[in-house]
C-alpha cells in the first residue's frame, strides 16, 4: 500500500469554472425526465385511441391553417381550452408554456405588420399558431410514443420506418442515461482545476459514439439471431370505443363549422 494512501490529503480545491458540467447534467436530466414522463405517466383520460387523436390533431391543424374566418379560429381556441382541462396540472403548465412562447414569438415576428395596417391578420396568425402548437402538445402529453408512431401506419408509412423510429426513441433514453452517468463521473472526478475541459468532454462524446456503435451492432446481432431477415411488420390494431366515435363526431362537427363560417 503506497504511503500517500495511508494518510489523509490536506487538500484545498483550486478555483475553476465548472458550470458546464452542472449545465450538461441539468439539460440531459431534463430531456430524460420528459421522455420518462411520456413513457410512464402519460394519461389517456379521454380514452381515445392514438390513431383517432392523431387524425383529429391533423384535421384541426389543416382546417385552422386553411380558414380565413377569425370566428372559426376563436372556436378552435375555445375547443382547445376545453381539452386542456382534461390534463393534469403539470401537463397544463407544459402545454401552456410551450404554446405561449411560440405564439409570442410569432406575434413579435409579425409586429411590423400591425403598423402597416394588418393588425387583424397578425392576431389571427398568432391564434392559429397558438391552437396548432397546443393541439400537438396535447397529443404528445396524452399519447405514448409507441402508439403515436404506430398510428403513422394508417398513412402508409412503411413498417420498417416505424420500426426505426421506435428503436430511435428507445435508444435516446438508453444513451441519455449513459451520458448522464458519464457526466456524473466527470463531475465526481473534477475536484480541482481542469485545464483541458474540452478534452474531457470530447472523451465523453467519443465514448458515446463507440458505445452507440457497439449497441447497434449488438442489437443487429440479437435481431439476426431471432430470425430477422430485413422486413418488419407492425401488428398493432387500434380498438374503437364509444369515446373514439364521440371524437369522430366532434371532428365532423368541427369540419362543418369550418364550412359554415368559411365557405358559406
Amino acid at each position: 500500500m503506497p504511503e500517500w494512501l495511508l494518510k489523509k490529503d490536506n487538500y484545498l480545491p483550486l478555483k475553476d469554472k465548472n458550470a458546464f458540467i452542472n449545465k450538461s447534467i441539468l439539460s440531459i436530466f431534463h430531456v430524460l425526465t420528459r421522455f420518462r414522463q411520456q413513457a410512464k405517466h402519460r394519461t389517456n383520460k379521454l380514452e381515445i385511441n392514438a390513431l383517432i387523436k392523431f387524425i383529429s390533431t391533423l384535421i384541426l391543424i389543416i382546417f385552422v391553417s386553411l380558414t380565413q374566418s377569425s370566428t372559426f379560429v376563436l372556436i378552435a381556441n375555445v375547443f382547445m381550452l376545453m381539452l386542456i382541462n382534461f390534463l393534469s396540472i403539470n401537463e397544463i403548465k407544459y402545454v401552456l408554456k410551450v404554446s405561449s412562447v411560440v405564439a409570442i414569438f410569432t406575434f413579435i415576428i409579425f409586429l411590423p405588420a400591425i403598423f402597416l395596417g394588418y393588425g387583424n391578420n397578425t392576431l389571427m396568425i398568432t391564434l392559429k399558431v397558438l391552437v396548432s402548437v397546443a393541439s400537438v402538445n396535447i397529443l404528445a402529453c396524452t399519447t405514448e410514443w409507441n402508439d403515436l408512431i404506430i398510428s403513422l401506419k394508417v398513412f402508409r408509412v412503411p413498417d420498417m420506418f416505424i420500426f426505426v423510429l421506435d428503436i430511435t426513441i428507445k435508444y435516446i433514453i438508453i444513451l441519455g442515461e449513459f451520458s448522464l452517468n458519464m457526466v456524473y463521473a466527470l463531475k465526481l472526478r473534477s475536484v480541482g482545476k481542469n485545464n483541458n475541459k474540452s478534452t474531457a468532454l470530447s472523451g465523453i462524446v467519443g465514448t458515446m459514439f463507440i458505445k452507440s456503435k457497439e449497441m447497434s451492432e449488438e442489437m443487429y446481432g440479437a435481431m439476426e439471431s431471432r430470425g430477422f431477415t430485413g422486413t418488419y411488420k407492425v401488428y398493432k390494431k387500434f380498438e374503437f370505443k364509444l369515446a373514439d366515435y364521440i371524437c369522430i363526431m366532434f371532428n365532423i362537427i368541427f369540419i362543418l363549422i369550418y364550412f359554415y363560417f368559411d365557405r358559406l
Binding site: P2, L5, P13, L14, Y184, L188, S190, V191, G192, G203
Partner: protein
C-alpha cells in the same frame, strides 16, 4: 462521519426511492448495502455522493450539511467530491480519457500536483491494482475486469476517505472478484470507509463488518453485524435476498 436523518427521495416526485432513512456511519467502517433490485441502494449511494439531494431530512458529512446551497459552492463541492470516491456499476461511464495513464492521472492533475507527483501517484496506483501493463491501452478496448480495475484506480488515485462501490462484482470473472475482495480489505485496513452494494455474497466474505438491508418498500429493515445477518437464512429468504 456520515449522518443521514429521516431522508426521503423520489424520482419525478412520483416514484419513491428512499423512505425515511436514518443512518450513521463511522470512519473506517466497511458496510454492505443489501436489498432487492429497485429497493433504493443505488439512490442512497448517489445521495451520499452528493449527486442527488434529499427531499426531506438531512445528510451531514463530517458535520457539514450536504444540500443544494452548500454544493453550489464550487470549493465546498470539490473538497467533498475529493473525500468521497464512487465506483460506478458500469465502468464504461467512468472512463473518458484516451489512455489508461491519462485516465488515472486525470484527478491528480486537477489537484494541482506537479507532473512528478502525478507520475508517482499513478505508478503506485497502477501497481496497487496490478494494471501496470495497461498504461498505454485505450480504456474502451479493455476487458470488463480490466475496465473495473481502471475505474477503481481512477478513484483510488484521488485518495478519498470514503469508497462507494455500486455492485462492483457484477460481470467479473472469479479471479477479478477475488482480487477486488482483497483490495477492499486492504483499503479498509488503511482506515478507509467502504460502502458497497452487492448481491454477490460468496465473494465478499470477510470484507464487511456491518450490513444494511433494504426492503422493497425503500426502507431500512435491518442494520447490524454482517455475519449475523448473513447467517439469518430465513430473514434473507423472506426478503428475497437469497
Amino acid at each position: 462521519m456520515i449522518d443521514i436523518k429521516n431522508v426521503s427521495y423520489s424520482y419525478n416526485a412520483e416514484v419513491t426511492a428512499l423512505k425515511n432513512i436514518n443512518l450513521h456511519i463511522d470512519e473506517g467502517e466497511a458496510i454492505a448495502l443489501i436489498g432487492v433490485n429497485g429497493s433504493g441502494k443505488s439512490t442512497l449511494m448517489k445521495l451520499i455522493n452528493g449527486l442527488i439531494m434529499a427531499e426531506n431530512g438531512s445528510y451531514l458529512f463530517e458535520g457539514e450539511e450536504i444540500n443544494n446551497k452548500n454544493m453550489q459552492n464550487e470549493e465546498f463541492s470539490k473538497a467533498f467530491h475529493k473525500k468521497v470516491g464512487f465506483v460506478f456499476q458500469n465502468s464504461d461511464v467512468q472512463l473518458f480519457c484516451s489512455n489508461v495513464y491519462d485516465e488515472i492521472a486525470f484527478g491528480p492533475r486537477q489537484m494541482g500536483m506537479n507532473e512528478e507527483e502525478v507520475k508517482k501517484r499513478v505508478e503506485d496506483t497502477l501497481k496497487l491494482l496490478k494494471i501496470d501493463e495497461l498504461r498505454n491501452r485505450q480504456p474502451y478496448h479493455l476487458s470488463g475486469g480490466e475496465k473495473k480495475k481502471v475505474s477503481i484506480a481512477s478513484v483510488v488515485v484521488l485518495n478519498p476517505d470514503v469508497y462507494i462501490f455500486d455492485e462492483p462484482m457484477n460481470g467479473l470473472d472469479p479471479k477479478t472478484k477475488r482480487f477486488l475482495k482483497e483490495f477492499m480489505i486492504a483499503i479498509n485496513n488503511a482506515e478507509k470507509t467502504i460502502l458497497c452494494s452487492t448481491h454477490d455474497f460468496e465473494y465478499v466474505k470477510g470484507v464487511f463488518k456491518r450490513a444494511i438491508v433494504f426492503s422493497g418498500e425503500h426502507t431500512i429493515i435491518r442494520d447490524g453485524a454482517y455475519d449475523k445477518i448473513m447467517n439469518d437464512t430465513a430473514f434473507l429468504y423472506t426478503n428475497n435476498i437469497i
